[in-house]
């Protein structure tokens, strides 16, 4: 086998020995059975033969070992990819031979939870579910993206970090406090208060200009700027119980939060504009903890407990006919049960004024107990892949709510144009309010059958669409989630080519941190 040949070559052996010396022999592997588990997921790369297994998987423990690994990568000029739960193969899987996966499996410590000052210091393996559980115990909480709470909390914060509770908490970029971070060149960068006291990560900014900026971006640096080994993240006051309320047996679980502190509404409008107007009014009134206008598929993605149930219910149009242009709102009584009562009155005023109507009670009862609190704890996002093996998205935008509407509108047109292979989705528009309605997020999500022919064709169409968008000066679509190749195309148009390439060159002189992400400085 070809792979065996690689393992026999001298350079491979030298690198292997260097890694072994750095992390211990059992914490580096290069055998086919191991590397085979690190190059694919639900996304197209593996299916389309665009990703390859890594040459090594290395498991450093802590910042210093990670630094040693990254220095070795620099010494031998071999590319590395830092991974969390590794769910995003578009940027988390090797796209070239000879790649090193830096897996965080030995970095699962929660170093500290400062209950009083509401933050936690975590390592990259720590999942959002773990962090949430610890937070709840202390009357605190943190969000979770749709991706699922099995994702690495650090990767989630580095990546997109849009979560259901972002309406209240903001997007994850604001949730990041101190960071300890091994740069692509092997230097250890500490930001925020960590920069001066490696034991104290309570504050995120500075000193002076804020280097956290390098880590993030609409879809983050995609591993192109080194590996975060420790992060302090904010936790937030939570009026819910100390353990997550759940009853029933997998896969039919019910979760109901205390009625005196939480209340869900799903309110329907005749048009998307009506729904958005409702969301604006809620934001202005400074009420609620979650405000989401979900696509019809979202209702069934998270609700259905088997493929059969999914497609049967879909064909009955249970959700399509009832939840189109509906907005899900969860009111939270942070202060007291009286706050919840107050918010109910305010929300009911708004519903009346804006002409909203609650969805049919039986649909509400069917859906809410089983599904709604997903938006607070964990969406079980991988259910999105259930009905057809995968899903894709187009037109992801964050700006104002109004802007989000315009974009999902155009998103519909593309979806129509690309159906099939896009499967039935009937209203694929997801719009979320963030920061009490200061921002609006829009995304067009749809199921696609996991078949190489269909996906390949669709990918090409989506890429062409992205290219067209960029040429029209339209930024921030699905593109940033593709990492390097997108930035290569978009950076000159949106005027960040010189800056991004300059930074990449400066901190990644050997171009080893997940090339070609987040940009190829030499292209």
């Amino acid at each position: 086998m070809a792979k065996k040949d690689i393992r026999n070559n001298d350079r491979h052996q030298q690198i292997l020995q260097a890694f072994q010396a750095a992390v211990g022999p059992e914490n580096v592997k290069d055998n086919p059975a191991t590397v085979n588990a690190y190059y694919g997921d639900w996304l197209p790369p593996k299916l389309l033969g665009m990703s390859v297994p890594p040459e090594f998987v290395v498991l450093p423990n802590g910042t210093l070992e990670t630094q040693a690994v990254i220095k070795i990568c620099n010494r031998y000029k071999v590319p590395f990819i830092p991974v969390g739960s590794n769910q995003w193969s578009l940027t988390g899987s090797p796209n070239r031979q000879g790649t090193v996966i830096i897996d965080c499996k030995r970095m699962g410590k929660i170093h500290e939870i400062d209950e009083k000052n509401m933050y936690a210091v975590i390592e990259p393996l720590v999942t959002l579910a773990q962090l949430q559980a610890e937070a709840y115990k202390r009357g605190l909480y943190i969000g979770s993206p749709e991706a699922s709470a099995t994702a690495s909390a650090i990767a989630g914060h580095c990546f997109q970090g849009m979560w259901g509770v972002g309406y209240r908490l903001g997007v994850a970029y604001r949730n990041i406090l101190g960071i300890e971070w091994v740069l692509p060149n092997g230097e250890i960068l500490r930001t925020g208060s960590f920069s001066l006291d490696a034991q104290n990560g309570f504050w995120g900014e500075g000193p002076g200009p804020d280097l956290r900026g390098m880590l993030r971006g609409y879809a983050g640096a995609m591993g192109g700027f080194g590996m975060v080994t420790k992060m302090a993240v904010k936790l937030h006051p939570y009026p819910g119980p100390k353990t997550w309320p759940v009853r029933g047996t997998i896969p039919n679980q019910i979760s109901e939060l205390p009625e005196d502190r939480f209340k869900w509404y799903i309110i329907k409008y005749d048009s998307l504009e009506g729904a958005i107007n409702f969301m604006y009014e809620i934001g202005k009134a400074e009420i609620a903890g979650v405000v989401q206008k979900w696509p019809t598929v979202y209702y069934i993605w998270w609700w259905a407990n088997s493929n059969e149930q999914y497609w049967t219910e879909w064909q009955k149009r249970t959700f399509q006919d009832n939840v189109k242009n509906a907005v899900g709102v969860c009111l939270w009584g942070f202060t007291s049960p009286k706050q919840l009562e107050y918010e109910k009155r305010v929300l009911e005023d708004i519903i009346k004024e804006t002409g909203g109507k609650p969805i049919k009670q039986e649909v509400f009862d069917l859906w809410v107990p089983r599904t709604a609190n997903n938006w607070i704890r964990d969406t079980h996002g991988s259910r999105m892949m259930r009905p057809s093996g995968t899903f894709l998205a187009l037109r992801l935008q964050t700006d104002t709510l109004k802007y989000a509407v315009d974009h999902v509108r155009q998103g519909y047109e593309w979806v129509e144009k690309f159906s099939p292979p896009i499967l039935d989705c009937d209203g694929p528009d997801w719009i979320g309010g963030y920061d009490f309605g200061h921002f609006g997020f829009g995304e067009t999500d749809f199921p696609v059958e996991k078949r190489a022919e269909d996906i390949g064709d669709l990918m090409n169409k989506l890429l062409a669409m992205t290219k067209e968008d960029v040429q029209n000066g339209l930024e921030n679509g699905i593109g940033p989630f593709l990492g390097g190749p997108y930035h290569q195309m978009a950076a000159p148009v949106f005027n960040y080519e010189h800056l991004l390439k300059g930074i990449k060159k400066a901190i990644d002189p050997n171009f080893v941190s997940n090339p070609p992400h987040n940009i190829d400085p030499n292209a």
Partner: protein
Amino acid sequence: MIKELRDIVGAKNVLDNEEALALYAQDRSLSAPKKPFAVAKVNSAEQIQELIAFANKTFTPLIPSSSTIHFYGATLPEHGGVVVDLSGMNKILEIDPLNRKVKIEPGVTWHQLQQALKEHDQMPLNPLFPHPGTSAMTSSLEREPMLIPKYEYGDPVLTMQVHLGNGQLFRTGTASDKHTYGAYPEGPGIDFWRFFLGAQGTMGIVSWLNIKTEYRPKYQKAYFVACDELEDAADPIYKLQRRHIGNECFVLNRFLLAQLLCKEYPKDFTKLMDDLPPYTIILVIAGAPRRPLERIAYEEEALMEIATDMKFEAAKTVGGVAGLGTAILDMLHDLPADGPYWKTRYKNSTQDIFFITTMDRAQGYVEIAQGYAAAYGLTLNELGVYMQPLERGRACHLCFSLPCDLDSEQDRQRIATLHTELSQTLFEQGAFFSRPYGTWADMVYRHATTYTATLKELKKIFDPNNILNPGKLCF
């Protein structure tokens, strides 16, 4: 050179006479005067672009300055050069009440902004009663703490147009895409906007900025809690913030509150110093746009419940000061357009030391500050203490104000030494100087080695000739 400057901004907008230069050579800090070569008053983005081109060609430092008042030496030309006076660019370019944001130029003051937003029932998120001349843009960019810790999503900065030292005109966030409303800070590519915050004008000159606005309450009530020590304030605030109670929330010690409240100096001041408790928590409970009184009612009820539980008194006043609530509320919502700055009632300047910490550590720092102050002859009643809880009490901005008579060389000397020594000790004790002005820069960056080295790499990309405010931070 002057000719070229005149060509760019117009002859009347270039100041190079000694008198004018002397004005720009000094601020309200104790930094030694540093004279610029000239001052260019700009009034458009194009002029900024041209100035930057000129500066790169001639290796002339440019020192951006958006207002007429400076406290920390950030606009003093360390290496000469041209002060780019942006205060003339003072338009509010767009008020967007629907999306609750406003687009401002550098010279817009807090007063101006507050007044303009009033008619839209909106308000900016301003710091503690800023000096009337303070630029709203500069305070936002420099991350001055907001009085309202309740917005968990934190900083108000959205997007901006910025002129980089390398000559590039750059827009951050979704402002990079002309189709958008410029509301979202992230991108393009990475979070470039972060590099311009806390940068003291070293990374770029911002010609407009979009910041968040919030609903301006029509109904509100102020509550006061008297505390003997700062540590007595911490626990109530932790609790109140955890329970989402109140809008504005901060703590002033007697010395600062007396200056803030006194109308006639020294008469009122002396009385207030007698009457006020050592520390006062100021908490404003505000109505929302809908059912405002009902919101006030449940928050008030929760406040009282906590007060009973924790055995503190949340009252309409402290020290028997009449009309305290009204006075505070009036000031909050009508920042003065001009007139004397409250913090300089006692002496003609205040030399502040501020940093970020957590509320449970604040008392320790106060004790250090008091020890130093005493050693330098400041009585307890001459040391200002301001604690601003941030983000629901997760952290706090702690500020010590040292009054100083700028006209007395002796006082200057004394306070300068106190300021340096106290800063150093606080730093050694873990105070986080997130905005390292003046001499703090050296103190901080010497320790943050990789941070500093990386910042320098970035600086090379954004401002390769180091023309923007050289000598500041680590540049």
